[in-house]
Symmetry: C2
Subunit: 585 residues, 2 copies
């Protein structure tokens, strides 16, 4: 097909949109791919829709190759199934809720586990019906608190979500692997480098969970990897726990004056000045007060103890306490809880009892896994201007449990023994989960097994954000002139630009476009009669079709210029060879 720019619905913009925080957003708007309608809600213009359709086609083909069948669920769903699984509440403000004219509750679905489960429950009854993997490519809704970064995090977005159903764990493993393999093929075809990292299943529940991350310095996610092959996002990283130390021979805890030492730095300096020894932050136990807001709206303070050389990681703490929301304790919280002596908090309560014993303070106390029995710490004495040293874990204090919230550092040992990890940044491009039996159990999806016994089905859930992927490809493929699409998803195969006032150039460009069309190329033909070459070249660079053909001055001699948008190389060739050259490239 040949699409003529003289009539095509496209207007490129000279100015960046004022609300664009990231490159993809800026360029996709300027080059006429998308248009904002509301925060996090976009309209798709013809160029954008074409790229989106190409990504969807690649996904559909690989889903079919993986034996998955396509279905399509509504965005508007009734409350009931989400009520049964608890997600009607768990999603909090992130869920768009509405009522119909009769007052019945509905939601705009953020994800579809519930209704896929119920569909299979409706239609299937035997292990012989399984395995089954079904998917959809569908518009989803999440009422993000801060919709930002254009399509990278929108409130209306297109996802491919697939769900697998198996009667056995081995079956789930196979279904999971088939989707995982399909994802590898999809990202390869999209030209997206990826790392597969262990992930936390988070609010989805379930057991095994992996993310496909595209490694890039501009990524919003941090992940860790070892040279031995370990890879995980920071939320899923687990600390290697040191061996416990016998209590024998350890000194007794001693409280000491430590005026004006409310921070780890001041405490370490003071300790080195007044105590016998050479201490670092790692010898201190930092106690951080967090405020949890539970789903029922109640607020709970908790204290987390961790080595003084580590901080609480925002993402890890979020996962650790989900579905509660976590924030730092406020001045008001401290005022209301005089037992928490700011800057001097320790595992002891002010009454001498261990904080972890609820009877003493009512405040739960959690520990970093490194704080094993027998380790001795300098920490707050729960008395203003006083700390304590030689306080031994397991002997002098205990906790309500261990928790993985401390920052992960370059050089920390990988949990699988594959050596020290390094940190890297990436963007999430896909996610595969083993949901297990959580949804099937709650919603009653059972089948008869070989022995005629009812067994609960085990499920997997597999997601790719289509519109997010498109934005990521744009984010990674551009220069200061505009977009540079990989050929597999470019809106057109070739962009033919006719320049100058010479009718011969337009005639040649016209016939070349027809020849390219005949050879199977989808052609964008800049046939605008009174537009300067500069503007046409600028538009071509902004729009980003990777292969451009300039038909201009050389037309009289039967020559055209092949312009590689990515490398910038321009090659003059006889027009008669252009089709063959482009076919070969």
């Amino acid at each position: 097909m040949v699409t003529r720019l003289s009539t095509f619905f496209l207007r490129t913009l000279r100015e960046d949109p004022s609300d664009a925080e990231v490159t993809s957003h800026r360029l996709l708007v300027r080059a006429g791919y998308i248009r904002r309608q509301a925060p996090g809600v976009f309209a798709w213009l013809p160029l954008g829709l074409k790229v989106k359709a190409k990504i969807e086609t690649i996904i559909r083909e690989e889903m079919a190759a993986a034996g998955a069948f396509e279905v399509h669920f509504p965005a508007l769903l009734p409350r009931e199934p989400y009520e049964v699984t608890g997600r009607w509440d768990e999603y909090g403000d992130g869920l768009f809720r509405l009522q119909d004219r009769k007052g019945a509750d509905y939601l705009l679905a953020p994800t579809h586990e519930e209704v896929f489960t119920l569909l299979v429950k409706d239609l299937y009854s035997s292990y012989k019906d399984l395995p089954l993997t079904i998917f959809q490519i569908q518009d989803k809704y999440r009422d993000e608190a801060r919709p930002r970064a254009g399509l990278l995090r929108g409130r209306e977005f297109t996802m491919k979500d697939a769900y697998s159903f198996d009667a056995t764990d081995a079956g789930l493993d196979a279904s999971y692997q088939a989707q995982r393999d399909a994802y590898e093929r999809i990202f390869s075809r999209l030209g997206l480098e990826y790392v597969i990292v262990a992930a936390d299943a988070g609010a989805m529940g379930g057991s095994k969970s992996e993310e496909f991350l595209h490694p890039t310095a501009i990524g919003e996610d941090t992940f860790v990897r070892s040279e031995g092959g370990y890879a995980a996002n920071v939320e899923a990283f687990t600390t290697v726990v040191p061996d416990a130390i016998p209590f024998d021979g350890l000194g007794e805890p001693i409280i000491f004056d430590s005026p004006d030492t409310p921070t780890i730095t001041t405490l370490v300096d003071h300790s080195n000045a007044v105590l016998d020894g050479s201490y670092t932050a790692a010898d201190t136990l930092k106690n951080v007060v967090l405020a949890l807001t539970h789903l029922d709206g109640s607020r709970e303070l908790v204290v987390v103890g961790l080595p003084g050389d580590r901080d609480v990681d925002d993402k890890r703490v979020e996962v650790a306490f989900a579905p509660a929301e976590v924030e730092a304790a406020t001045a008001d919280d401290f005022e209301k809880n005089p037992l928490l002596v700011k800057g001097y908090i320790g595992p002891w309560s002010a009454t001498g009892a261990v904080l972890g014993e609820e009877s003493a303070t009512g405040i739960r106390y959690f520990l970093d896994p490194r704080v094993v029995d027998g380790t001795a710490w300098i920490t707050g004495a729960n008395i203003d201007q006083k700390h304590v040293h030689s306080l031994v874990a397991g002997r002098d204090f205990t906790s309500d449990g261990f928790i993985e919230v401390a920052t992960v550092r370059e050089g920390d040992p990988a949990p699988d023994g594959s050596g020290p990890v390094s940190l890297a940044r990436g963007m999430e491009i896909g996610h595969v989960f083993q949901l297990g039996r959580k949804y099937a159990e709650v919603l009653g999806l059972k089948v008869l097994d070989e022995n005629g016994k009812l067994v609960t089905v085990t499920m997997g859930s597999y997601g790719i954000g289509v519109t997010r992927i498109l934005a990521i490809i744009a984010e990674l493929n551009n220069d200061d002139r505009g977009l540079i699409w990989p050929e597999s998803v470019a809106p057109f195969d070739v962009h033919v630009v006719a320049t100058g006032r010479d009718a011969a150039a337009f005639t040649l460009a016209e016939s070349l476009s027809s020849d390219l069309e005949a050879a199977g190329f989808d052609v964008l033909f800049d046939d605008r009669p009174k537009v300067s070459p500069g503007v046409k070249f600028g538009d071509a660079e902004l729009v980003g079709v990777p292969r451009i053909v300039i038909v201009g001055r050389g037309a009289a001699d039967g020559e055209v210029e092949l312009w590689d948008r990515r490398t910038g190389d321009r090659t003059v060739v006889p027009a008669s060879e252009a089709v063959a050259r482009l076919t070969a490239s």
Copy 2:
């Protein structure tokens, strides 16, 4: 491609769904095409999605051929543009409204005139940019009071909506014609017979409006047509107004006793008994009291006078008073308005003044166009048990205007003089509107014309309900065994059924399926090993792929049976010829 039923996600149902009111709903659910999620909200299973995709492809191809460009707007839209055009309120309870976490108002768009207009306003500025036609295929939402009839009238439904933009009226005519032509091609390809009828633009505003109706006795719409080529739906039909009659020589009105004659029938009988002459219902003037509920919630009573042999038509009265809602006056209304003497209402008020003069009663009075000046009527005297005769229109009473609300009857003259009309029933399958400048004016879409002067753009709006069309095709193509799809939209090209326990049949069916695939057919292969021929044939008939190949007993002799689902014809052919026969058919 070959899709094997042994693993395909399909379960046909033996029972009709209990909530199915129409054939298409019943069969689409039973045959595994769709599944209800909530009233008027459906999930699409693989078979249904395939048919839907085929319809969408035909529409896309014809839109492209008509020079329209595809875009895609969100379903979730902010209130503001719909507030500006007044439709936020006009849609009443039919609009799904919601708020985001910040309390901002949103809607689920029922149609997209506003945002298409604003998009073009954003990007275009000159008459040289026009004409432009853009379209989308997108899921829309209407909170129907009684979602019913399956996909025929859903609350979430897929539509193709196109909008044209022109600087001149002549341009609009051309854009309108291009869409109208495209619709004719689309419905021909879909195998849907159609009649194009004049329609009322209704709540959309605008001038010219036509509907594509499929004529069928089970249609929900009534339309009229003359042998001379006139066609209109009843809402758009206009009455041929007779000439006025000179007042000269007409007798004076005379009030007469008419006890117990509150209906037209009793009045005619009484008149023939007590008056000099032979009267029919057509000689009486019936006065109907209607209660309008305006957008602001206020209630207004109006009276409509029409010949006694006609009734008020529900659809015509709805259009005539839109956007107000209309219902019959209640007993309460009559009680509160003693001037309205039920059964004896005339154009006079009880004070002797004409009802149409607001000063008298405050009640507006409208007339059927047949009540021209000089016509004499028997009608109520606005006094209990009394009527009046020889009451002459234009001399003895006037009105607040003429109104087209009377029923249309077989034999009424077509307004274009093409002869008497007959009535027929049909289903709406498409709608083309000339919106004119209504939206452009309100939303400020102007372009510079040839003289550098700002002119308001004129628009057209063109809709096809994709999911509705699918249901209509199903509604029209079935028998008591199941669906019978037209080839252009069938979910598969050929359904190969392997029957019996003979391995040779399965082997032959397998290779035949491969051969068909190689020849470009999309094949559904019933390879289920332990399912009886009866069940397989039943499923094939229910699913409705029009071409079925049975590979069974004759397989040993290299023979297969070609089964035409529509005619029921079965033909035994050598397997080696099957592909050629199907290709030729």
